[in-house]
Symmetry: C2
Subunit: 425 residues, 2 copies
């Protein structure tokens, strides 16, 4: 029997956004890559399975990164003294253009994937570039590493620099079809394709029509950007005067959740109308507080979205964000919600530890199926955390140790990692 074993340790997972379940010295059962639940006492029927005893370590579900640009990894933490549109022209586009060269892609994506493996992320939805070959390079590396991921070849046929603009909507669609076929034919176990129109300004109506057709044919999900920055939103208003909101510019083509699931990154400045449309379409919001701070977009009203019943998870948004760490995304989520409460709207309470942890695991995990918890039937993504290097005279409880890790953890604290029952680290 493959992938059947038991992890022992201090187990933490979300039952809901408000309820964090903690089992001290519990047993977490993995059978065929799926969780069979967490037990305080080991049930008789599992007593034959190998027990991997991590003693006083903390075991949590793998973290989920709903939004990350793999080709931007090399310039993370550089050149962040500008807003979105200038930042794209100055930093993102020139670097992404290099991925026409697949040997450059091999090297650069290798560094990104290495970094992802060392951290606590087990699931990611990833933007590549417009280049089908380089995107395949990334997919192969993720497959080999065992990171469960959606990977998207980008679409860009307008308002993009010549070095990073596809020749025509038809050419962009043809490349996307080629890439989809090749990705599906590769028979990856861990990697799936996701349609990725960069954002409305870089995709013509004709291209959106093609993508809608491809989505109906291939039944693949979609990821893009939404209402991140004031200038961007105004630009979309000018480009799509007939759209009732930025989201509607996707929705008119069936690309806002009416056909297949979608992730929309940011939603910092979504209108009431757009918020209602996201709820109706079941859009998954990727909240990216690190990036939203660095490129000065603002602070998304996450509490409002959660209270309104929308789906939310977290994204690192490297390299608008400067780190792939979803621990950092959690602490930034809490801290920025505090600043929003203080400076913008004190009717929206800051997020709690429980809520940030939920968003980073079960919240975003929902996009991948039954992912992000240890309840019976969930895919077995687990991270073993060692916090011995966090010096203190106190004897904090498990909840406090988890809280501390959310603020202080780095890859030194990640001891082991499993994705779908397979050990990745």
């Amino acid at each position: 029997m493959l992938n059947n074993f038991i992890l022992r340790g201090n187990i933490c997972y979300s039952k809901s956004a408000q309820h964090l379940d903690i089992i001290e010295q519990g047993y977490l059962i993995c059978e065929a890559g799926v969780s069979r639940g967490v037990f305080k006492e080991l049930p008789e029927k599992y007593k034959g399975l190998e027990i991997r005893d991590f003693k006083n370590n903390i075991i949590i579900p793998g973290l989920v990164d709903l939004h990350v640009h793999a080709p931007q990894f090399s310039f993370r933490s550089l050149g962040m003294d500008m807003e979105l549109l200038e930042w794209l022209e100055t930093n993102a586009f020139p670097e992404e253009a290099k991925f026409k060269n697949t040997s450059y892609a091999e090297e650069a994506y290798g560094l990104f994937v290495d970094d992802l493996v060392k951290g606590a992320t087990t699931r990611a939805s990833i933007f590549a570039t417009i280049h089908p070959e380089a995107t395949q390079v990334l997919a192969k590396q993720l497959e080999k590493a065992g990171i469960k991921s959606y990977v998207g070849k980008l679409n860009m046929d307008r308002n993009s620099p010549e070095i990073l603009c596809e020749d025509s909507a038809m050419r962009s669609a043809a490349d996307t079809r080629f890439w989809l076929e090749e990705t599906l034919a590769a028979g990856y176990e861990h990697v799936k394709p996701i349609l990725t129109p960069r954002f409305t300004p870089s995709c013509s109506d004709e291209l959106m029509d093609y993508l809608s057709e491809l989505q109906r044919e291939y039944h693949v999900p979609l990821q893009s950007h939404l209402s991140e920055n004031y200038s961007e939103i105004e630009w979309v208003r000018q480009l799509c005067p007939e759209s009732k909101c930025y989201g509607d510019a996707y929705d008119r083509f069936g690309l806002f959740g009416s056909q297949e699931p979608v992730i929309m990154a940011h939603c910092v400045h979504s209108s009431e109308y757009e918020t209602a449309l996201m709820k109706e379409r079941g859009v998954m919001i990727a909240h990216c507080p690190n990036s939203n701070t660095n490129v000065m977009s603002g602070i998304a009203p996450v509490r409002f979205y959660m209270d309104a019943g929308l789906s939310v998870g977290l994204g690192s948004d490297v390299a608008g964000g400067f780190t792939t760490s979803i621990f950092r995304a959690m602490s930034d989520t809490i801290r920025m919600s505090k600043m929003r409460w203080r400076l913008v709207d004190d009717s929206l309470k800051p997020l709690t530890i429980e809520e940030a942890f939920y968003l980073a695991t079960r919240g975003g995990g929902a996009f991948f199926g039954k992912v992000g918890s240890f309840e019976e039937g969930y895919e077995f993504d687990a991270v073993v955390l060692d916090d011995d290097n966090i010096a203190s005279t106190l004897k904090p409880c498990i909840k406090q140790r988890l809280e501390r890790l959310i603020y202080l953890a780095d890859d030194r604290n990640v001891r082991h990692k499993y994705a779908g029952g397979v050990q990745v680290l």
Copy 2:
């Protein structure tokens, strides 16, 4: 000859808030604990000195932490879901009360000092507790470690829990005198005493009078808190109805810079009047963005203070802040100034890399004398940074490598450290 040597590497230091000087493969001369300047070519007269060649590493002035609570180190990153006054009652006061026990102080301060040594900080102005013995324990540990520091025994004679309240103003003053005498008699090379009334709410007028007398007698500087949180400011207004502003409640006793230099931490919500008074009195502001976010105080208008010619440096404010890292204080300074620009006042431009670096070195260093730069005559505080673990395909220039470290550095990047010409790490 003691402490005479040369460091070689890529040398960065501030000439002013706007001007960062970078000398690739330069020579930094240390003579008798003082910098003799940075040279692209090694001057003839220094050719006999030992050269410590750090090749491609980056060498910067030691970082300065203007505000940190040593006894709070053990609960950093815990219990931050509350505002200042509740947070003090719940987290800070019970932990600080433990320092009545000097063996607890030995252990807890040991962890704090170890952490400080591993990081890039060479100078710190530190709050201890009300306990003279424990404060001496801390001073001895800092002295042994070679961290150049001001250490303050706290004064608290009102509005404090019984376990952490001095019996009377007279007793608080007597303990402070005893501690001052003992500290001065110890003949520390690296550690100096600093008067530390916790904040106005915890110090009676009678106690402030005693402290003023002590200051005139001993000529020691002073550190305290100012205008951090709305409820705190309102409380001070009620306690001191005759004061024109919170700062005036110190100034009335000569404790706001008119007698000796002072550091005031936070200044998040200082009025125009208070700002003018700080400028007039030469008050050094300790900006603590990590803490101001965690305990939801707000974002201080650092750009305004700098433009107005006030003195500003950075503080970690552990454990309102969750890390002693002044790199983190720099990146939080930049990021929070961006949020203030976006959400509060777009007339105050976000801070630049140069400005944040200046605040963390020369800005705060000014409180210690000629500290925080490598210009001729500055005390020789230097940190050697190795950024080889920051993977990238790019070949960033030195300025970019420094920028990257401001966002990504942790103690793994700190290779060596010198304070006053003495190697500390």
